[in-house]
């Protein structure tokens, strides 16, 4: 029986022909291309998506409630577990927010190491994104190449913090410890070799006909719509917007580094790919500058009311012992107030809104998670496209469900 087709204007302006004969299907939460436990309720007409409703919360662990039960220092370990692909960025924004509450600034060496680590973790994040995005589109080998380099980064993180993923290395007041011997040499060799590796990834994908077919013109979002939905990070920069908090509201001394903000105009999956590839090169440049200027000095503030005393002093100084006991049992107590601090994480603007009531634990700690806000743009990008393209679009938004659900 022939069905009459009627045109339908979708949210992003494209026209789809609808037969009125649609099917509702469930995608996820257990689906390899949803990058975790994202569930989508899809309404399909043939292979065209006419409705897309994300259902989230499968990884909700109540981090914001847990922050209220922990001292400021204990709270650091929770930040790793939100965006587990870029733990050091999360550590950094939490530390900066706490330091803003306290009204302190960290020593210069700690600042430079923070920038260095934030950029290495950005590369780490983008490597996982690139590998999985390519894998979703059927390019197996790019994944193996990306994880080869990521292994070196994880070795670096393990050397300095003892953990490959949950680093908790950047802390309120500075860093957990100084970099261990041999770390800078390994980092140096990584940074030296990395640009060639990016060229290698690009040789697999950038001019690959299949990859271009699957990504160019797919998942387009206009600049105005991206503004409305508050899209941030590489996905916004792929819409031709010069928006990077490292330039607009510099923190940790980013204004002193020389780097470019990669941008593209198309707003499609391919442009988001190109922006992130270019960002890896820029991050590598920043990391190189940070490593070259690494000053000597302490990596923790000198204030005994905030920083734990050195281990050796505990055996000889009564005062150090008291400080240690007070800091570990009660924690430091910032003045009453509220602050919002944001940084450019690999995924966009991550912000921490922290309210202090003058005790050793935050009264309220809210995280503006970029993955959560960016995921609102998924439906407008997907509607009107094919279901096969949806897989490419999810990958291009780079959501981490730990951060979406918190």
């Amino acid at each position: 029986m022939a069905t009459t087709l009627r045109p339908n204007q979708t949210a992003n302006g494209t026209q789809v022909m609808l037969s009125g004969d649609s099917m509702t299907i469930n995608m996820g939460p257990q689906h390899p291309s949803t990058h975790g436990v994202l569930r989508l309720i899809l309404e399909l007409e043939g292979e065209t998506v006419v409705r897309c409703e994300p259902v989230i919360g499968y990884l909700h662990t109540g981090f914001e409630k847990t922050y209220e039960q922990k001292t400021y220092l204990q709270g650091v370990v929770l930040t790793d577990r939100m965006d587990y692909l870029a733990p050091l960025s999360n550590n950094l924004v939490y530390a900066l927010a706490t330091e803003k509450l306290l009204g302190i600034e960290v020593p210069e060496r700690a600042k430079v190491i923070r920038v260095l680590l934030a950029e290495l973790t950005r590369i780490n994040n983008h490597l996982v994104w690139l590998g999985t995005q390519a894998l979703d589109l059927g390019a197996m080998s790019a994944f193996l190449y990306c994880f080869r380099e990521r292994e070196v980064l994880l070795d670096l993180f393990e050397m300095m913090s003892g953990a490959r993923l949950m680093t908790s290395f950047i802390r309120p007041g500075g860093l957990m410890a100084d970099l261990p011997p041999g770390w800078t040499e390994l980092a140096d060799s990584f940074i030296r070799a990395f640009p060639e590796k990016v060229t290698e990834y690009e040789s697999l994908l950038t001019k690959n006909d299949i990859f271009r077919e699957r990504t160019i013109g797919v998942g387009v979002i206009s600049r105005e719509r991206a503004f409305e939905l508050d899209l941030t990070g590489p996905s916004l920069r792929a819409c031709g917007v010069d928006w990077d908090l490292r330039k607009l509201a510099p923190y940790s001394g980013y204004e002193t580094y020389d780097f470019a903000v990669p941008m593209r105009d198309g707003g499609d999956v391919y442009d988001r790919y190109l922006v992130r590839i270019a960002e890896m090169r820029e991050s590598n440049k920043i990391a190189r500058q940070a490593l070259d200027r690494l000053p000597d000095g302490p990596v923790m503030v000198d204030d005994r009311k905030i920083a734990l005393p050195p281990r050796a002093e505990l055996a000889t100084s009564m005062e150090a012992l008291i400080h240690h006991f007070k800091l570990v049992s009660e924690g430091f107590k910032p003045p009453v107030g509220e602050v919002y601090q944001c940084i450019e994480s690999p995924k966009g603007e991550i912000g921490v809104y922290m309210v202090s009531d003058g005790t050793g634990k935050p009264y309220r700690c809210h995280v503006r998670a970029p993955s959560f806000i960016n995921l609102q743009s998924l439906a407008p990008m997907a509607i009107g496209g094919l279901i096969a393209d949806l897989v490419a679009i999810i990958g291009s938004l780079d959501p981490v469900l730990g951060e979406v659900d918190r």
């Binding site: 989230i56 803003k100 509450l101 919002y340 912000g351 309220r364 503006r368 806000i373 609102q376």
Partner: protein
């Protein structure tokens, strides 16, 4: 909010730049001039300005801050809420809006007072479409109703969840966690048994009917 206006503000590394301070002052003046009866107090801490307002005209106040050409706070970067129960404030709940101007890059915080007796405030999704999910999150975790929201339902927790966890009187660790060794014991204590879940998700679910 107790404003930390001590003598140290002058040397405060976090103090707002002159340009931002001017915009903050202009915002306070604009809101005070048009909605004088709505503006309860203002606070300055570490260079961040907070406007505390009543909830009745919240949409008009945010529209004013957005559309006034001198202010141009056209981006809602974050929306959340606080429960002031433990601090004994007069008004228990506050909904917090973090605004930003894409042109001047200035930021501004607006806190709207929501009394416990009537947990509702107007939705700002019409002004800032990005507020959609954050408002659902506040509804889910605090139980504050957003009037005029296009699709107000729980977002992070299951639809049949009891209570709102981010409220200060929501207990922590009150429920024993179900593991394999105490599976049946817990299942007997609570109505959310495996059978009930199966019924809800696999038998009675609209996708299967």
């Amino acid at each position: 909010m107790t404003a930390q206006t001590t003598a140290t503000v002058v040397t405060d590394p976090f103090a707002a730049s002159e340009a931002y301070a001017t915009i903050h002052a202009a915002a306070i003046e604009a809101v005070g001039a048009t909605f004088g009866d709505q503006l309860v107090e203002t606070a300055l801490f570490r260079g961040e300005t907070t406007l505390v307002v009543r909830r009745e005209r919240i949409v008009a106040i945010l529209a004013l801050l957005r559309d006034n050409p001198d202010l141009g706070f056209d981006r809602l970067s974050d929306l959340t809420a606080i429960d002031y129960l433990d601090l004994g404030r007069e008004c228990r709940f506050n909904v917090v809006y973090h605004l930003m101007s894409r042109r001047t890059l200035a930021r501004l915080r607006v806190r709207a007072l929501v009394p416990e007796e009537e947990l509702a405030i107007d939705s700002v999704v019409g002004l800032f479409p990005a507020a959609n999910w954050p408002e659902r999150e506040v509804y889910d975790l605090f139980g504050i109703h957003f009037a005029g929201h296009p699709d107000l339902k729980r977002i992070l927790l299951p639809d049949d969840w009891d209570g709102h966890p981010l409220r200060k009187d929501y207990p922590i660790g009150a429920e024993e966690v179900q593991f394999s060794f105490n599976q049946d014991e817990i299942a007997e204590q609570y109505p959310h048994t495996l059978a009930a879940r199966e019924e809800r998700y696999f038998v009675a679910h609209p996708l299967n009917n």
